[in-house]
């Protein structure tokens, strides 16, 4: 199948390990890369969570003494950067990586080595940013890095920010291109657009958002880098630089970013709810178009982050109106999820609970989001804890709940064993209660005037009680996270072995064994319906009730079948090329030219090796 041009051997011997840690370094299997993404994102989740606990301990009482101002500012900045760029985004990417090919009936993503490259760049980027803690101080200008503060803050923290996010952005961009081509081009025969699972649709929208949002952030970060390190004057008001330029660029990226974070979770919920309601998704087309509409409208609302910046009443009105009306497609989704459950036969599994938890909490985040569109009142609530409450209801009650729903749902497919349902439900309720205890009261103290990003507050402000409650809530969440870890460990050891189709699923991934073989499908499936697997399993009685037509999900996986399947061979080069990134980063932060040259050389070496080796070894 390879062309004649590519039959000769690469200039290095190909890695051959299929087990052991080396196999993970060289893997270009989308499933292994998905697991790498997931594990890494989870580790960052724990780190970002510990930062959050410290923040809450510091604020538990007035005049807190747990952290000083310097460390507090680093912690809240790193908490934001971590949770956004190193947890929610890559956790979504983990699931996309693993399940996009499985759900569209493909054997891998379009560019397996680019996929591996994307992961290693992400990992090295994350390590690069975190190394700043040990090298004189982490970024401390907020995840939003408003200039001119971000260009004047002493130390190297914000230089790490400008380069670290740049590196993470490269990973996202590579991933986005890969997913776009995979989804558009690698679908199994018969998998038309309107038969694609909603998770695939949302992944596609997210990939396009990334594709167009990351370069805008890249420009802003480069400008900040020039300002900090090379005497640039992009954001120096003393010579005419405009601080609002940063805000516009950052939020032109930043608001689509919000949808980048939430849409994968919406996709997951749109898979989980139908499965456990035993019903097709209510209003599939509406949900898909609502998702696409959100993707488009998400570009027209950025300045609602800047209502207090003084853009003037006309601009504020325009952005307030777009902000209001983006609630309409979001509302459509919520109605349709409720419609999906209506008349169903619901199994209250942990995955389902997390999905319903997502819907329930997202309503609150959505409604509080609409209130921001009321500019005169937004002038009151913006930059208070009301905002912190709002976006945690969207990103934790929304995205994180959705992602955990996805983890419980797909865990048996990935690891071949189910997660414990009892511990899972305990996990859910701890999260649900802890979450609301932590973030519910933030609405109240916000409306009572507690600003964001303050490391301390005096005792006479009336915020004491609720801050203490929030801290308790945060620790309840921490216990919930421990329960999840215990559940995962127990599942590895003695979890119930998963059959191919443990939930009576509807989509193609459940037709493969758990875990799926390296080549995913021994025969590329032929898709004839939306929810194709369900239609293969069930016929309909004249009354419209489903009747099982064949017993098992498993295709007998005969070994003879897959001998002819050529899969791309493992490769050293994606990881090698990615290794150049941190060298470039450190070299730039400290202006060490040799380090930059070494970094560029490693990168080029990796890319050339990658370019010259055939992707399949004969």
């Amino acid at each position: 199948m390879a062309t004649a041009a590519l039959t000769r051997r690469g200039m290095f011997a190909r890695p051959r390990a299929t087990t052991g840690w080396w196999s993970w370094v060289t893997t270009i299997d989308h499933k292994k890369i998905g697991i790498l993404y997931g594990v890494t994102a989870f580790v960052f989740f724990l780190i970002g969570g510990v930062e959050a606990l410290f923040i809450r301990l510091q604020l538990a009482r007035p005049d807190g003494q747990v952290l000083d101002a310097e460390l507090y500012n680093q912690f809240f900045t790193m908490h934001g950067i971590t949770m956004i760029f190193m947890v929610v985004m890559p956790m979504g990417v983990a699931l996309m990586n693993y399940f996009i090919p499985l759900m569209i009936g493909a054997r891998d993503v379009a560019f397996p080595r680019l996929n591996a490259f994307s992961y290693w760049v992400f990992l090295f980027g994350g390590i690069f940013v975190y190394s700043s803690f040990f090298l004189g101080g982490a970024p401390d200008g907020g995840w939003f890095g408003y200039a001119p503060l971000s260009r004047t803050l002493p130390g190297h923290g914000m230089s790490y920010y400008s380069l670290g996010l740049q590196i993470l952005g490269i990973a996202s961009l590579a991933g986005a291109v890969n997913f776009i081509v995979t989804i558009l081009n690698m679908r199994a025969p018969g998998m038309t657009f309107m038969r694609m699972p909603v998770f695939i649709w949302m992944s596609l929208v997210v990939s396009f958002l990334l594709l167009f949002a990351m370069p805008v952030l890249a420009v802003a970060l480069f400008q900040l880098m020039f300002d900090r390190l090379f005497g640039g004057n992009f954001f120096n008001p003393a010579v005419g630089g405009d601080p609002l330029l940063w805000q516009h660029l950052f939020w032109v990226f930043g608001h689509p970013e919000v949808y980048i974070l939430i849409l994968p979770a919406m996709g997951i919920v749109s898979e989980v709810l139908p499965t456990f309601s035993r019903k097709p998704l209510f209003g599939y087309a509406a949900i898909v178009f609502a998702g696409v509409a959100i993707g488009f409208m998400g570009w027209g609302v950025w300045a609602h982050h800047m209502f207090a910046a003084g853009l003037g009443p006309v601009a504020n009105t325009a952005f307030a109106l777009t902000t209001m009306f983006i609630a309409v497609p979001t509302g459509i989704k919520i109605f349709n999820w409720v419609g999906t459950m209506w008349g169903g036969s619901i199994r209250l599994t942990t995955a389902f609970l997390f999905a319903v938890g997502f819907v329930a909490m997202f309503i609150i985040g959505g409604l509080s989001g609409v209130t921001h569109a009321f500019v005169p009142h937004d002038a009151q609530q913006t930059d208070t804890y009301y905002i912190v409450a709002h976006f945690h209801y969207v990103l934790f009650g929304g995205a994180i709940f959705g992602l955990f729903g996805g983890l419980y749902y797909w865990w048996p497919k990935v690891f071949g064993r189910l997660l414990g349902e009892r511990l899972g439900k305990l996990h859910f309720w701890l999260y649900f209660i802890g979450f609301n205890l932590t973030f519910g009261p933030m609405h109240i103290v916000g409306l009572q005037g507690q600003p964001r990003r303050i490391y301390t507050y005096p005792e006479n402000m009336g915020w004491d009680l609720w801050n203490l409650v929030m801290t308790v809530g945060a620790f309840v969440i921490a216990v919930g996270t421990l329960v999840f870890i215990v559940n995962a460990v127990l599942s590895r050891k003695r979890g119930e072995e998963a059959v191919a189709d443990p939930w009576d699923g509807r989509t193609l991934e459940w037709t493969t064994p758990s875990p799926p073989p390296e080549y995913n499908f021994s025969d590329v499936p032929l898709v004839t319906h939306r929810d194709d697997f369900w239609h293969k399993k069930y016929a309909r009685t004249p009354e419209g009730e489903p009747v099982r037509v064949f017993a098992g999900a498993e295709h007998a996986d005969d070994d003879e079948h897959h001998h002819g399947i050529h899969l791309p061979s493992p490769s050293y080069f994606p990881a090698l090329a990615a290794l150049g990134m941190p060298f470039l980063g450190y070299g730039t932060v400290y202006k060490i030219l040799p380090a930059m040259i070494v970094g560029a050389a490693i990168l080029l070496l990796g890319l050339f090796g990658w370019g010259l080796e055939p992707s399949v070894e004969e």
């Binding site: 004057n233 992009f234 660029l249 990658w610 370019g611």
Partner: protein
């Protein structure tokens, strides 16, 4: 992401059926170029905002040498022509001539970069540096990143030349594909320059 490795990686999938009927690598390249539009668009917006903010430094009309830049723009424009000729040669399996046109394209690119280095040096001597003013910052960032893109393009052209010369890509349609991908990139960078030339140099303040 450079296009070069994508070009080669995608070759394996050549015979695969694709759902859209469009080659994977080509689609990836189009997606990447879409992303690049936003990249350059953001820098052009910054430039438009800052062109008049010259602080104590020189202003655009004091410093631009339009005839000079017109010549180097013409050179880059011509490189698109040689790129087309290179692709055409590879498509009719005339590798030798294809390589010549590749070299010609790279040479024109190098000429353009040389011109840009000279222009930057002159500007610097006339008092415009990255640190001079927001105008200086935005000018050097925009044209500098464009130059970096041209440089990456030259590297890819030379790699193609080397691969073809050492027989790592052979004649016929399979060789034409990586050339076509690099060509897409090259034409894009060229078009971006046309936009930059018009907006930065030609449109008066």
């Amino acid at each position: 992401m450079s296009t070069h490795e994508v070009a080669v990686e995608g070759a394996v999938h050549e015979e695969h059926h694709t759902s859209m009927g469009l080659d994977n690598v080509k689609m990836a390249m189009w997606a990447f170029l879409g992303s690049e539009c936003l990249f350059f668009g953001s820098m052009i917006s910054t430039y438009l905002l800052y062109r008049g903010r010259t602080a104590s430094g020189p202003s655009p009309h004091e410093i631009y040498d339009i005839p000079y830049t017109s010549v180097s723009s013409f050179v880059l424009l011509m490189s698109s022509l040689t790129m087309v000729l290179a692709l055409a040669a590879f498509q009719r399996s005339d590798d030798r001539q294809g390589r010549i046109w590749l070299l010609a394209t790279a040479f024109l690119g190098v000429t353009f970069i040389g011109g840009q280095i000279y222009e930057f040096t002159t500007f610097y001597e006339e008092g415009l540096a990255l640190a001079t003013s927001p105008f200086g910052s935005s000018f050097f960032m925009l044209t500098g990143f464009h130059g970096a893109h041209v440089t990456v393009g030259i590297l890819m052209l030379l790699s193609l030349y080397g691969m073809s010369a050492f027989g790592r890509i052979e004649g016929g349609r399979s060789a034409a594909r990586p050339v076509e991908m690099v060509g897409l990139y090259w034409h894009f960078v060229d078009i971006v320059w046309i936009v930059i030339f018009m907006i930065v140099y030609l449109i008066p303040e």
